[in-house]
């Protein structure tokens, strides 16, 4: 897969994982496991990128005697998901066109 497209997909997947409620690294990884296998390093890079872009915020909370980082989606993050859905419609129509043309051959 094109790396730019994959990067965009990964970003949206992580945003979707924290959309309904704040989540933490390990849970995000587990929630995404059925759809894509993410390494810790990749997840960290995505979270950092999204934080820098203002699509999520990080807070630290106490959990079972230790600290855990929770990720919270921002308005910008929600906008990114909506954008993705719009983009995807376009991609799907392009896909249909490509498949149709391919079958004609």
């Amino acid at each position: 897969m094109d790396s730019q497209l994959k990067r965009g997909l990964l970003d949206v997947c992580v945003l979707a994982a924290i959309k309904s409620e704040d989540s933490y690294g390990y849970r995000i990884m587990n929630d995404l496991k059925p759809y894509l296998e993410l390494s810790e390093s990749t997840l960290y890079t995505i979270l950092k990128r999204l934080e820098t872009a203002g699509m999520l915020t990080v807070r630290t909370a106490e959990h079972g005697g230790r600290l855990r980082k929770y990720y919270h989606i921002t308005g910008e993050g929600l906008r990114r998901i909506r954008e993705f859905r719009e983009d995807w419609k376009e991609i799907l129509s392009i896909y249909r066109f490509v498949v149709k043309e391919d079958e004609h051959e």
Binding site: Y24, Y26, E40, S41, Y44, T45, R66, L67, K69
Partner: protein, 199 residues
Amino acid sequence: MNKREFLARLREGLRGLPREDIEERAIFYSEMIDERLEEGLSEAEAVGKLGPVSDVVAQILADTPPAESVREKSKPRGRVRAWEIVLLVLGFPVWFPLLIAAFAVLLAAVIVLWALVISLWAVDASLLGCVLGGAVSAAAFFLRGNGLTAAAMLAAGLCCAGLAIFCFFGCKAVTKGALWLTKKTASGVKHLFMGKETA
């Protein structure tokens, strides 16, 4: 491999990246290990799930934009040091007497503490002396035929012996406490300076 070893090797492998970035990554991986421990995995298993440290480091370095590692390497450390030296020299008339005063106060506190310990032991020793004195004078009075006074002296000696034994335990405890406090103070001062050296 346990968690501490993994994190130490990770930090070692990431040397060259910005320090805060290394720490943030270490916290992230530490959290991942803790989550797996919470799930019931052993420490070795939880660390094992992350894969070999060398692979983790290689992947992080591959994911990190090259600019970041270059930025850390080219940090103008020399200039920061120079500023520190200038500040130290300019502030010398202020911080040096303050430092000496702080040391003097600390030293005085330690001396007072040990003077107290010594005086307590002196009390105990004098009580022991009284025991001896009581016994000797009791013998002397007895030989001179003054039995009642001899008995009184013996009783006083025995009282002193009891008090001496009682005091001995008190002195021992106080000495132990003073030793602990002195050690703590010494290590505190040492850490203060070690911290300054690394900063």
